[in-house]
Symmetry: C2
Subunit: 351 residues, 2 copies
Amino acid sequence: MTAVNAVNRRMALRRYPDGMPRPEDFEVLEGSIPDIADGQVLGRAIYLTVDPYIRVHISPSMSVGYAPTTPIGAPIPGEAVLQVVRSRHPDFAEGDFVAGFGGWQDYCSLPGDSLRRLDRSLAPLSAHLGSLGMPGLTAYAGMTKLAEARAGDTVFVSAALGGVGAVAGQLARLQGCRVVGVSSSPEKCVWAVSELGYDACLDRTAPDFAAQVAAACPDGIDVDFENAGGEVFWAAFNSMKAYGRLIVCGLISGYNLDAPPPGPDMTPHLLRYVAMKRLVMKGLMVADYWDLRPRFLEEVGGMIRDGRFRSKEYVVEGLENAGQALIDMMHGRNFGKTVVRIADDPGSSPP
Amino acid sequence: MTAVNAVNRRMALRRYPDGMPRPEDFEVLEGSIPDIADGQVLGRAIYLTVDPYIRVHISPSMSVGYAPTTPIGAPIPGEAVLQVVRSRHPDFAEGDFVAGFGGWQDYCSLPGDSLRRLDRSLAPLSAHLGSLGMPGLTAYAGMTKLAEARAGDTVFVSAALGGVGAVAGQLARLQGCRVVGVSSSPEKCVWAVSELGYDACLDRTAPDFAAQVAAACPDGIDVDFENAGGEVFWAAFNSMKAYGRLIVCGLISGYNLDAPPPGPDMTPHLLRYVAMKRLVMKGLMVADYWDLRPRFLEEVGGMIRDGRFRSKEYVVEGLENAGQALIDMMHGRNFGKTVVRIADDPGSSPP
């Protein structure tokens, strides 16, 4: 039997963040290794995910049905890449690599039926939390089911290198679209163009950012794949072409708001232009699209394996740094999809 | 040949309204009867339309491609019911009843190809500017092409008795939906229920209006047919069910805003709920749906003729009162779809 530590560390909330999370909102707690019941497996986490939606789960004011608020002291929720160390489920054996909603902790017990087995031949394990994980599937669902993008369309991706955005942008490029991305530094923008194939990528910290968006989309935007909100959203919205589609997937700029920001109130402007330009705005949640996963893994996984599609993770080392990794991501200090490595990948060294 | 007056009166802008239009923003001017070229007809107006979208056309700050700003001194634009008094188009003869974009004036010259012939057997002439006109077609397009309403759905109609709303509400009822309307007085609400078949109709001037909306839609709203904006919009939005559709057709509450209203800014809230509830928001402009007109007239026209569908116009007498009629409509003082009668209907008295 695989050795299991005596202690299960978890990264928990010490208190609910007030606005932008701070390091002291988080703390590492220790507990015992969970038992497993029939049908469950015990997993040891190798990689944890750090995604913008986690901010929603740690805010009581933002809780809605789909996202119950994380209790103080409980592990921060999120998907993890796990290795099975005990199994009471017939489909899984010790040593298997899976992904499941284990949260930010060393060990978790999960129903085997909730796990997905990882195909290590496609990409490194970390990619299964990014381009081949929930963020990638989110982008795939948005681009294939909601965006209605046609070759030649201008597609705007508001977080060009993010877990979702990098996949959305590359899918749009492969559909023959002109793809304009946004990131938070000149270096990342250069990388988005040279490595991900964006036609243009704009630095949202530039003083003339909105004018740059208008200039980069001279014929307007057909599809806005929205993960930002705030000023980035408005720059795109004001350049939308008639009949354009806005895929509202994430709003990282709004996740630290516990109350609506000061005015003026721009909703009348928004609604007026939705009507006049016949825009279509569609909310996207990946939970509606689990059935797309096999096709997604075949298509995107195949392209990653063959080198035709880039997956870039920004790997932070150590469970104790997961809170800071979330903060850094919300400031745009990451370079790619953030994951936290909390244990060695036993398969990463040659046998 | 039909007699033609010596003078063509028009209701024009004296100046652009600042916020809510005032009577002194309008004036009646006189000019000559227009000539007609080959392919055109000269029409004498019997009924003029008064619709919320006219407010957009008389505001320089709101002009977008589809709605060029009306010049000072020019007739206010809008559809009219006309009788042909001269024709140089092979399809039209003197005496024919047509509708066309003649604007607020006694006489207009229009290309025959832009006119639609009116079927007087379906309904009184005035209805061809309402339930059988552009507003009715707008509602028909929204309910048949965008709303995706299924029997049992709750449909919310924010202007229950309006030119668009009365048709949307009745179509929704005929589709087996539960229909909740909004109007601006208890009397109108009673009428909407008893005559238009709304399941409930709420008075937007009630102090507890938002709570009434929530109570009248205990399972949430599947379709919001939006013609109001402002507080009525938010009452509906906050009751939207997951996967609900918002048809953004009109925003009468916002048409008098020359600048965004004071905050807080509710767009982050709006975008967050669009994502989390997977809402779909769709802009609607009738100009995209002229091809639906034959089917619309057959279906809705047939039901009006047979008494299964109600059309209610609020008839204001006299061109000189058209400006006030627009103001009254924006205050909700009308009772049904507003039209202005500026000449006798020669067919209205028995022969």
